[in-house]
């Protein structure tokens, strides 16, 4: 590496002032931002069955998802869901490039919202640049202060909403109003609020460039048929300024008038005309910018457009390709597995723990006894009666009462159980099964394996 390059790597970051641009994709991104942020801020307020519809109740270790109650034991669903999310990202990246980055990533969405507030208080791009260069004055202070006020209020509301997914948001609101919020709740609210403020207000595109793993490895999912945003070099070059009346062909020019609008609107500060770059988050602002210029010049739109490498080199683009089939098949299988397992999930869980202190006890009349602790978790929302039984070999029985158990809705019943058998049937180690069945519905039943220990013959 030569010296000047090394020196440039240490150059401090300059602030990027993205220029606002209207257009098709800008509208799309505004709609996406509004919907996604709207969902985030509204969902915790929705009620279902007199409780919060979506609540990840960490203190109680229960997740409420509309009508469904999930327990720590349901963790495999979460794992499956995360794998499905990752695969969908691969699928859509291979198909349509960085759609996620440009329209759905929280980083982009919140940055967008913060830029709206910036434009509202400080004005357009050139006004913002002028304001930053200007010496401090009352007007500058007023503008900066109102921007900070909006940003901080919005960030705090975001932190509050985030915590509202984990503790009941209505109660939380009342607690805040009466200054009685719990320490950790307050901490996480401020933490998330501050992270939003820093990420969306100041770090912005730097997060995508330096901190995002997806941005670095997404190229592995790209091929020549992936939808990318690209400048049509063959049509645009040689670029150069010209009057509207000049025919570019006669002047020996391409369609690019080198107005640099595509550079000015770019939130990551790159020049799309230099080709596909990993900094590009595919927000399509440059398409809107270029289309507006093409319209003014009476040239056809699409000098910068969504296209594929194959299409740029006049080859056929294949949407259906092996990669897509592999991703799609995997996705379908996993989604199917998730839906089936959720649909056939029995709302009762049984844990069996053998008493660790003794292997077995010998009782009079040649009876061998083993002790277990059963945990019966009723995952439905109403109280239920269950019947407990044990099978495995001849003559095995539960001791005494406790064969009928009543468990509250969403409750856990911890039950010490004595299992007995005759000595002649119980030599060595035997496999046994505990069965818990709901009294009102025989299909709600669960079997748990355990072992019964007896003396050596």
């Amino acid at each position: 590496m030569n010296k000047p390059q090394a020196a440039s790597m240490y150059e401090s970051a300059k602030k990027i002032y993205p220029r606002e641009i209207g257009g098709r994709f800008d509208r799309l991104s505004k709609i996406a931002t509004t919907i996604l942020l709207g969902l985030f801020y509204i969902i915790p307020w929705l009620q279902w069955d007199e409780r919060q519809a979506v609540l990840f109740d960490l203190p109680a270790r229960k997740f409420y998802l509309i009508g469904l109650t999930l327990w720590p034991q349901d963790f495999p669903y979460l794992a499956l869901l995360l794998i499905i999310a990752a695969l969908s990202l691969f699928f859509f990246t291979a198909l349509a490039g960085r759609l996620w980055c440009g329209f759905a990533c929280p980083q982009t969405v919140w940055t967008e919202a913060f830029i709206w507030m910036e434009q509202f208080t400080e004005g357009t791009r050139s006004q913002r640049m002028k304001l930053d260069k200007a010496p401090w004055s009352l007007t500058k202070f007023r503008k900066k202060a109102s921007k900070q006020f909006l940003w901080i209020t919005f960030s705090m509301w975001t932190g509050f909403t985030f915590v509202g997914y984990f503790t009941e948001i209505r109660q939380l609101g009342l607690d805040i109003l009466s200054f009685s919020v719990g320490g950790w709740t307050l901490f996480w609210g401020l933490f998330y609020g501050f992270a939003t403020y820093g990420n969306a207000g100041y770090m912005r595109e730097q997060v995508c460039k330096y901190m995002c793993p997806y941005a670095r490895f997404q190229s592995a999912m790209f091929d020549k048929d992936t939808l990318i945003i690209s400048y049509d070099e063959r049509r645009g070059e040689p670029r150069g300024g010209r009057k509207r009346s000049v025919d570019p062909k006669e002047a020996g020019l391409g369609d690019c008038i080198d107005c640099q609008l595509c550079v000015q609107v770019c939130p990551t500060g790159i020049d799309i005309r230099e080709g596909l770059q990993y900094e590009c988050i595919a927000c399509a602002a440059c398409i809107d910018a270029c289309d507006s210029i093409m319209d003014k010049m009476n040239y056809p739109r699409g000098l910068v457009r969504y296209t594929t490498e194959h299409s740029l080199s006049n080859e056929t683009t294949h949407v259906l390709r092996p990669r897509m089939f592999v991703y799609a098949t995997l996705l379908l299988v996993l989604c199917g597995a998730l839906v089936t397992s959720m649909a056939t999930r029995t709302p009762v869980i049984l844990d069996v723990i053998r008493d660790r202190n003794s292997l077995y006890r010998e009782l009079p009349n040649d009876i061998i006894e083993n002790i277990y602790t059963l945990k019966v978790i009723n995952q439905s929302n109403a109280a239920r009666d269950f019947v407990l039984s044990v099978t495995g070999f001849e003559g095995i029985s539960l001791d005494g009462a406790g064969e009928q158990l009543s468990v509250d809705g969403g409750g856990v019943l911890s039950l010490p159980i004595r299992v007995r058998a005759n000595r002649e049937n119980a030599f060595g180690i035997s496999n046994i099964e505990f069965v818990v069945t709901a009294k009102d519905d025989e299909s709600v039943s669960v079997v748990e394996d355990s072992r019964f220990l007896g003396p050596t013959p």
Partner: protein, 97 residues
């Protein structure tokens, strides 16, 4: 040609890159680690293992677990980043010989 105001706009200093990347990636991994860990173990059960009298509620347990993972991951990726960046360059070694 890119207008003057965009020159240098692409760079964060290398130290800043390293610090923020280490903090951010270890944060993400710690979040996943915390989620998996506490899906399997209840902080209230765990606190009994260390000290019967330790009266810790779940919120504090989750927070402690999260920061434990975060610090652990940050140390790991921080040291890795440091060693990778300060390793002797192969070019330099060849020149000396």
């Amino acid at each position: 040609m890119i207008s003057e105001e965009y020159r240098g706009a692409k760079q964060w200093s290398r130290n800043k890159q390293a610090v923020f990347t280490v903090v951010w990636i270890s944060f993400l991994i710690a979040a996943v680690g915390t989620m998996v860990f506490f899906a399997l173990f209840d902080p209230v059960d765990l606190s009994g293992i260390f000290d019967e009298d330790l009266d810790i509620d779940r919120d504090a347990g989750y927070a402690a677990g999260f920061f434990f993972f975060w610090i652990l991951c940050a140390i790991c990726s921080g040291v890795t980043a440091f060693l990778v960046r300060t390793a002797p360059k192969r070019d330099a070694k060849h020149r000396e010989q």
